[in-house]
Amino acid sequence: MEHYNMNLTLKVWKQKNCKTKGAFETYQVQNISSEMSFLEMFDILNERLIAEGKEPIAFDHDCREGICGTCSMFINGRAHGPWHQTTTCQLHMREYKDGDTIVVEPWRSHSFPVIKDLVVDRTAFDRIISAGGFISVNTGNAVDANAVLVPKDDADDSFAAASCIGCGACVAACPNASAMLFVSAKVSQLALLPQGRPEATTRALNMVKQMDQEGFGSCTNIGACEAECPKGISLENIARLNREYLGSVFTGKASS
């Protein structure tokens, strides 16, 4: 792979806090190596801004290896940028060429208020998990791990759903700002395992209720969430959540 350097124009959303209005600011960055990650390019820019006595751009990031789900940039109209199934921190600069202009915005959803610049508040996701995204088992209550057999296919599907990193790209990408993919991934993960079946319906109902209360939009099966999910969470999970929900409508079992 040939390495090269590039100069870029960045248009980045700047917003002091959730109460003030934000606006784009334009920055020129020089000599960006194609080997850098997208966030390292921001590091370089921030270093320069600090040296110039200006305020750096605030953005969320932590593990920088695509698993913690903290990073969250909307890059040229794409949640986590253009690479398929890739978080912002794993996007690398060889995607761009000299002279490109890149527009960077925060996740936009009223349920994710902006804290500063590109940093948003995603605690709504935590509250949705609190509403039911768990199996009610106290420590020490467990039977032997192999006492209940789980078909491999179910375990694999459950794992696929569980690989959600809670980054919020689904909400960011959805024209309706819906959180259905996130909620359905958790509902699916637990509903697919025998350990999670006893409260599967209650879980689905409670999580959906909380999701609505948090003010997320409603799902209209557009599918942008699946296309932008860095972990490839499938829309089949939404179908499964709908199924769980519909089941409870018919049986009337499980109340909140």
Binding site: K16, D126, F134, I135
Partner: protein
């Protein structure tokens, strides 16, 4: 103060059982009156907060991330060990205990490690009950793999994302307690001071990272579950935010720091690509099961790897360690890579890398597939294609990650890897009850020093974090809290809180007041370079002494010339980072002092002066079979206490992988 590890009497197998049967208990109505602070929400913190909440304690949990689910336990790839012996291959509690002690190069306590092995099985049960989707066999039972060169298959895993799945399980248990009201969660909060009243830990001062406000929180006890301090090296596989601040504040308030120089360097990481590098990415150790590590026999060879003929390749691990080959423990593999690169045989543009080659595995698997499918006379292309499919099935996600980062396709060209700082075995000194030397202050998980000695085995960090949180602390904390039931919560306008908050405020004001010219990041990089060069994979007395002087000078410069933009009363990541780097600069010095003191090579600590003729680590059991527990006396002034390690069951021997 003399160190008392409080290991219960009796035989190894009975210590924990006896402890559990005889420790003091707190009745349910009293638990509701007792407030516990948990700092950090990784595996140890989340599991502890959840377990204590379930018991009925009033818990407050803190994390610096925006959600407890983001703690860096999430990045662990390989798996979690447990002595289940589901494979009937001879595993047992004793074997897991023995492997851990030996792997740790005989620098861990027998009692603690045995307990760890003992509760390991219950961890798997608990996680499965919580809905952790571990890998399974077609029959529906759990799948195991061998890991890090152990002779038994005791590692449970969920693809390459075991840490994520376990953490999410613990996080869900935690959020359940949040919904039940037993745990109050404070995310985007950082602990900046420990509050002590009458010598006991009684609360913390935390900073709300969104508003910048300082908050006072009371707790009958404080649990630090804040992870390791690998970021002192700037470049490490830790998350960007991982820091030592909470543990360091506790240390300065009287908690001893155990074995600070014991750091683990992981052999298979993606090498540094340039000065812009902000962090290093681990490639799972499982890759060494199939990849062969080599460099050219020619110094500074500029040929492409494919152009280097077989006879000019040096498979140095297989050459030096024929018995274990590419599967030698982490510390050995790392040092061997460094030795080759230092000698001028490194590969890639930076010359700080070695090849991890899958061509042989692809060929081998390809041949097996050809055989299976009955394709006689298959050409090389077919063999390669089938082999690649097998390798993809096993390591596909890792190969993809490698390609995203480097832009190179590891199916076609060998991976380039180099060791990187990964884990810190050292940490706050704790006794058998996980209590530090400050009464009512506990340390769990990577934050404490126990269990892993001088080198941690693969897939054992997750085990320790969850063991401490789910199964140890609920008992040991109760034992102490039984004496606290008469103590009412202290109002946070108590002078100790006021004083502590003032201290924090003045430190922040001081940082903001420097108004210099150099960024925090720049100082951090400079500190990291000193640490990596002189207190990294190989250390010597001269270098360590230089490092101490350099760190002191750097610290001075930092406090005179750091520039922190923005305001105190707002979301200000630069200020957060400045506080953390300031603490790293103090810790770095202590690490060098500890490394200088430990005149032997053991585990992750390699002193160049103490090696065998073949360049292997040379322990000095007669002089250094102890835990160094450092007490903070004042700036650059630490006093070392020794906790001698007594081996009643295991007989320390030289580790040999030849």
């Amino acid at each position: 103060m003399a160190l008392n590890s409080k290991i219960p009497n009796g035989s190894l197998e009975k210590k924990w059982t006896d402890y559990k049967s005889t420790c003091k208990l707190v009745n349910p109505s009293n638990k509701r009156q007792i407030e516990i602070i948990v700092v950090g929400t990784g595996l140890a913190g989340a599991s502890a907060a959840a377990a204590l909440g379930e018991l009925g304690y009033k818990v407050k949990a803190f994390c610096y991330q925006d959600s407890p689910r983001r703690a860096h336990s999430i990045a662990a790839q390989g798996g979690i060990n447990a002595a289940k012996n589901y494979q009937n291959d001879g595993d047992s509690t004793y074997r897991l205990f023995y492997d851990t002690i030996k792997g740790g190069d005989y620098r861990a306590r027998e009692g603690n490690v045995y307990r760890l092995a003992e509760v390991s099985a219950a961890i798997i049960d608990q996680c499965v009950a919580q809905g952790v989707p571990f890998a399974r066999e077609y029959g529906g039972v759990l799948s195991n793999r061998s890991f890090g060169g152990t002779q038994v298959q005791r590692t449970f895993y969920a693809a390459g994302q075991t840490g994520q799945q376990l953490l999410i399980g613990a996080y869900q248990a935690l959020q359940r307690q949040v919904s039940l009201g037993t745990v109050t969660m404070y995310s985007r909060h950082e602990m900046l001071e420990l509050v002590k009243i009458d010598g006991k830990a009684r609360g913390i001062i935390a900073r709300n990272l969104v508003t910048g406000e300082l908050e006072r929180h009371f707790g009958h006890a404080v649990l630090l579950c804040t992870g390791g301090y690998g970021n002192v090296f700037y470049l490490s596989t830790n998350a960007m935010g991982c820091n030592v601040t909470a543990a360091w504040k506790a240390h300065k308030q009287g908690a001893y720091f155990g074995n600070p120089c014991f750091t683990q360097i992981h052999p298979t990481c993606i090498p540094v690509s340039g000065d812009h590098q902000s962090k290093l990415t681990l490639m799972s150790e499982s890759l060494r099961n199939d990849g062969r590590i080599w460099v050219s026999k020619v110094k500074a060879d500029t040929r492409k790897p494919g152009d280097i003929p077989e006879e000019e390749r040096d498979y140095y691990l297989e050459r030096r360690y024929p018995a274990f080959g590419n599967l030698v423990p982490r510390d050995v593999a790392s040092r061997a890579a460094k030795e080759r690169c230092d000698a001028g045989y490194g590969v890639g543009a930076s010359r700080q890398a070695v090849y991890l080659d899958f061509a042989f595995a692809i060929n081998r698997y390809g041949k097996i597939e050809v055989h299976k499918q009955g394709l006689a006379n298959a050409d090389q292309g077919t063999i390669r294609k089938l082999g690649m499919e097998v390798v993809k099935e096993k390591y596909g996600n890792l190969f993809e990650m490698y390609e995203k980062i480097t832009g190179e396709d590891p199916y076609q060209v060998p991976m380039r890897i180099y060791p990187a700082v990964h884990y810190t075995m050292g940490g706050l000194w704790v006794d058998y009850e996980l209590a530090t030397t400050v009464p009512n202050l506990y340390a769990l998980g990577e934050c404490n020093f126990s269990d892993h000695g001088a080198n941690r085995l693969g897939a054992s960090a997750l085990m320790q974090g969850l063991a401490d949180g789910y199964f140890v602390i609920p008992y040991t904390l109760g034992n102490a809290m039984a004496d606290e039931i008469r103590n009412k919560p202290v109002p946070t306008d108590h002078p100790a809180f006021v004083e502590a908050e003032k201290l924090v405020q003045s430190r922040i004001d001081k940082l903001m007041g420097v108004n210099g010219t150099e960024s925090v990041e720049s100082f951090h990089k400079r500190l990291g370079k000193i640490m990596w060069d002189k207190c990294g994979m190989a250390r010597n007395a001269e270098g360590l002494k230089e490092a101490i002087t350099e760190i002191r000078a750097l610290r001075q410069e930092f406090w005179n010339n750091v520039r922190i933009p923005g305001e105190v009363g707002e979301f200000n990541p630069e200020l957060d980072k400045a506080g953390r780097v300031a603490d790293f600069m103090e810790l770095g010095e202590l690490m060098c002092m500890d490394a200088l003191n430990r005149e032997e090579s053991c585990g992750g600590h390699f002193r160049e002066e103490y090696q065998t003729e073949e360049g292997e680590a040379l322990r000095q059991d007669d002089k250094f079979m102890y835990v160094s527990a450092w007490e903070f006396k004042g700036e650059s002034d630490f006093y070392m206490h020794k906790e001698n390690l007594e081996y009643e069951v295991v007989h320390p021997s030289q580790r040999s992988y030849k």
